[in-house]
Amino acid sequence: MKAGHKFLLGAALIVGSVGFLIGEGVKETGVYFLTPAELAAKTAADPTFVENVGFKVGAKVVPGSVRRDAAARTIDFKVSDGIKTYPVTYHGLVPDTFTDANDIEVVVEGRLGRDGVIRATDVLAKCGSRYEAVPKA
């Protein structure tokens, strides 16, 4: 076998493994990224979704819904996209960006319980006004 052919074989092996690792990685670790409305549609169409499938929900925190228990390190709040609203419970530390302001966007990762509450395993937050200019005087 010529060196060129051997190399092509090796190259195909590498390209193949990269492709395999990517495909397998997406299958094993990919999670749905949904809005609350899409989550409602998913659970309506497929009841096994509840409790079994992990997902991320991107939505706004409902103002005034945040209940913190600092000592127990748990936080309860509601997320909404204006169409559907879901309660969330999370045990852990939320980032500094999760404040009590009115325009917090969050990405909640977790699963939906039978009681309709999202059990979060991770919460990311982004404050809408974060990098904007001074409020108008």
Binding site: A3, F7, I14, S17, V26, R73, P95, C127, Y131
Partner: protein, 687 residues
């Protein structure tokens, strides 16, 4: 001053358009005075942009809050160095920073490139001017740093507290310098294609530029890791966030290029591949800016999201179509001079190294874009996170680490069995010894064990190379060991500098492997309460909550929580983490509270303390404790890598930079595959 700034931006814009049009027209080929005009337009654009930058700095330093940018990113109580660095803290200033640095590099390229490449230079100017004009049009039509407010606020909003960090003063400009300097090699590649001068000339002309760009990217990425570790407070330094990935992508393709270019210089192969890599690296650098600025992909680095992203998307598309079309039309002229002779050759090792680097880049790009791709194809957004990137890239990275050790041991063209045996015995032995030692010590994490054993193998390779080089010099010149070592590196900067870079890389891998053993715990503690953590190195740490104190500093109100640390029963001082509320000069809160992590860094492990808040205003504190092994080695690895990189590009280099045989200069490896030993001896003998 804004009027002057605006005027300078418009002047630069018009001069840039004018220079680019003349240069692209190609008329200068018959009329030398036009070529000189093009060069002068490059310098003139730089002059205008310097004036514009000084105007913005003046506005920042004099607290002219009528300028929207100044009001948005500074305040009266901001420490002076952050006022100066606010130049690149926001999007508008970053654009100006990008434009002025690019025009500086464009001018340096015109000024410093040797005369033998003069036929390329107007085309180089054409490309650089076009890119500068693009940045200027983003500023003038989308995001103008000199925009004024209809009123003058009494004080500015101040700088985001997470950006009030020395690392942040230097991290973005370092990354920008890396991104920006990629434009110069790209310009040379396009110039070579346009002028049909497709020999190795353009590659020699850009060697220093590619190294500069790679070095700045490396430093910028490492500083970014440091900033994330110190400021973001989640306990690690790399999260596969889209913005981090965006900086990693061009680094990967540039690293691939630095290796594959040696094959083109020595063997006349991979001409198309190299052009493709440079074009790809440039496009990835623009893509990175698009990702960070458009907000199409959710990221913790929430920059201002604006239409500016779409300027970049449009530019990216146009640049990609034009460059690849150009490459396609010159395809037949880019035939390789020779064919690959053997799989057991350094060429083959480099080819696999390139495939792996590009494969890693592809998987990172794929994972970063996957939410968009899946939504477009399947209608549902699916995201992948750190587990995906680890799963794919850890095995590929380990394979790459193995090649880092193998490549330098194999001869060019075709290695003989005797050569292989002589070269591999030492390094493989050191890898095996490390493997046995790790297993005996009870380390059971598969990937970590492999990473550490392979690191020992690479270390063996590098040590053997240095040992044989020094021995050859001692034999030939009777030098003492330090003198021989110094001269060896000095006379073969590219080769031995490269080996030092490899040492930096293996140190990174060791440090990354350490993070597989990190320990984490959250706790709510009353004063006097304590928690215990057992570290991977077998120490028992006891943290006792001392209390929370509150005080006011220059531009913030601070709550500081302190723990007493004990190691294996012995007191080991205090560790403090803070919650800060930043305020303006009227004591009004500016940003949401931020956390200042308490870190005690050591060679073995870091103690990492996060104060998450007090319970209802009492002294009861919520903490997260991390023990992070080997983190210090990431920063040290970055230092070694940068040191090696500087050696490879140090100017001068003595007689090895020979004009008559430029293709072989700086290697000290003989062309015919007689093995590395003779190469080292030849290098050592270069006087």
């Amino acid at each position: 001053m804004t009027l002057l700034g605006q005027f300078a931006l418009w002047s630069a814009f018009l001069l840039g358009v004018w220079g680019a049009v003349i240069a692209f027209s190609g008329r200068w080929q018959d009329r030398p005075e036009l070529a000189a005009t093009v060069t002068r337009s490059v310098y003139a654009v730089f002059g205008c942009l310097v004036v514009a930058s000084l105007a913005l700095w003046k506005g920042l330093i004099t607290h002219d809050f009528n300028i929207e940018y100044v009001a948005a990113y500074t305040s009266r109580n901001l420490p002076p160095y952050f006022v100066v660095s606010a130049f690149w803290a926001g999007q508008k200033g970053s654009l100006l920073f990008w434009a002025v640095v690019l025009s500086l590099f464009a001018s340096l390229a015109q000024l410093l490139t040797p005369r033998r490449f003069s036929a390329l230079m107007p085309y180089v100017a054409a490309v650089t001017s076009t890119v500068i004009v693009f940045f200027l049009s983003v500023m003038l039509f989308g995001s103008n740093p000199f925009e004024r407010l209809p009123y003058t606020p009494a004080d500015g909003r101040g700088l985001n507290p997470q950006l009030q960090n020395v690392g942040m003063v230097i991290h973005p400009p370092m990354l920008y310098l890396g991104y920006i300097s990629i434009t110069i090699p790209f310009a040379f590649a396009v110039a070579a294609l346009l002028s049909r001068r497709l020999d190795a000339g353009w590659i020699q002309a850009i060697r220093k530029w590619t190294l500069v760009s790679w070095l700045f990217l490396s430093i910028g990425i490492t500083l970014g890791m440091w900033w994330a570790y110190v400021e973001l407070g989640w306990g690690g330094y790399w999260a596969w966030d889209p913005v981090e990935n965006a900086s990693f992508l061009p680094w990967l393709t540039m690293t691939a290029f630095l290796h594959s270019v040696m094959i083109q210089e020595k063997r006349g192969m991979l001409k198309r591949w190299n052009l493709g890599l440079i074009v790809g690296t440039f496009l990835l650098s623009i893509f990175g800016t698009f990702i960070t600025r458009s907000g199409v992909i959710a990221s913790v680095h929430s920059f201002t999201q604006s239409n500016v992203g779409y300027f970049f998307l449009a530019f990216l598309t146009v640049a990609a179509v034009l460059s690849f079309t150009l490459l396609y039309t010159r395809w037949p002229a880019l035939q390789a001079d020779v064919q690959l002779e053997s799989m057991l050759s350094r060429e083959a090792a480099f080819l696999f190294n390139n495939l792996l680097l590009v494969g890693i880049a592809f998987s990172v790009l794929w994972g970063t874009l996957f939410p968009i791709l899946s939504e477009a194809v399947r209608g549902t957004k699916i995201t992948v996170g750190p587990p995906f990137f680890d799963r794919v890239n850890v095995p590929l990275g380990l394979l790459l680490l193995a090649l880092t050790g193998i490549g330098p041991l194999i001869a060019w063209r075709k290695a003989s069995t005797a050569n292989l045996r002589r070269q591999f015995v030492g390094p493989v032995a050191s890898g095996v010894v490390a493997l046995v030692a790790l297993l005996a010590a009870g380390v059971r994490d598969g990937y970590a064990v492999m990473a550490l054993a392979l690191a020992a193998f690479v270390a063996g390779t590098v040590l053997q190379e240095f040992y044989r080089g020094v021995r050859a010099r001692r034999r030939m010149h009777g030098e003492s060991v330090p003198v021989a070592l110094f001269r060896l590196i000095e006379r073969n900067r590219r080769r031995y500098g490269g080996y030092i870079v490899h040492v930096g890389v293996l140190i990174y891998f060791v440090a990354f492997a350490g993070m597989a053993f990190k320990v984490q715990r959250e706790a709510t503690l009353k004063p006097g309460d304590s928690v215990e953590l057992r570290s991977p190195f077998g120490h028992t740490y006891k943290f006792t909550h001392v209390g929370i104190s509150q005080y006011e500093a220059l531009n913030r109100v601070v709550s500081a929580a302190t723990v007493q640390v004990e190691v294996d029963g012995h007191p080991a001082g205090l560790l403090t983490s803070e919650k800060r509320q930043h305020v303006d000069s009227f004591k009004r809160p500016t940003f949401e509270p931020s956390t200042e992590v308490g870190i005690r860094s050591g060679l073995r492990e870091d103690l990492y303390l996060v104060f998450a808040g007090a319970v209802n205003g009492t002294e009861e504190a919520v903490y997260r404790f991390n023990i992070n092994p080997l983190v210090w080695w990431v920063w040290f690895g970055g230092f070694v890598l940068a040191f090696g990189g500087i050696i490879t590009m140090w100017p001068g280099g003595g007689p090895v930079v020979s004009r008559s045989r430029p293709a072989q200069s700086g290697y000290g490896v003989t062309l015919v595959g007689t093995g590395t030993e003779s190469g080292a001896a030849a290098g050592a003998g270069t006087e």
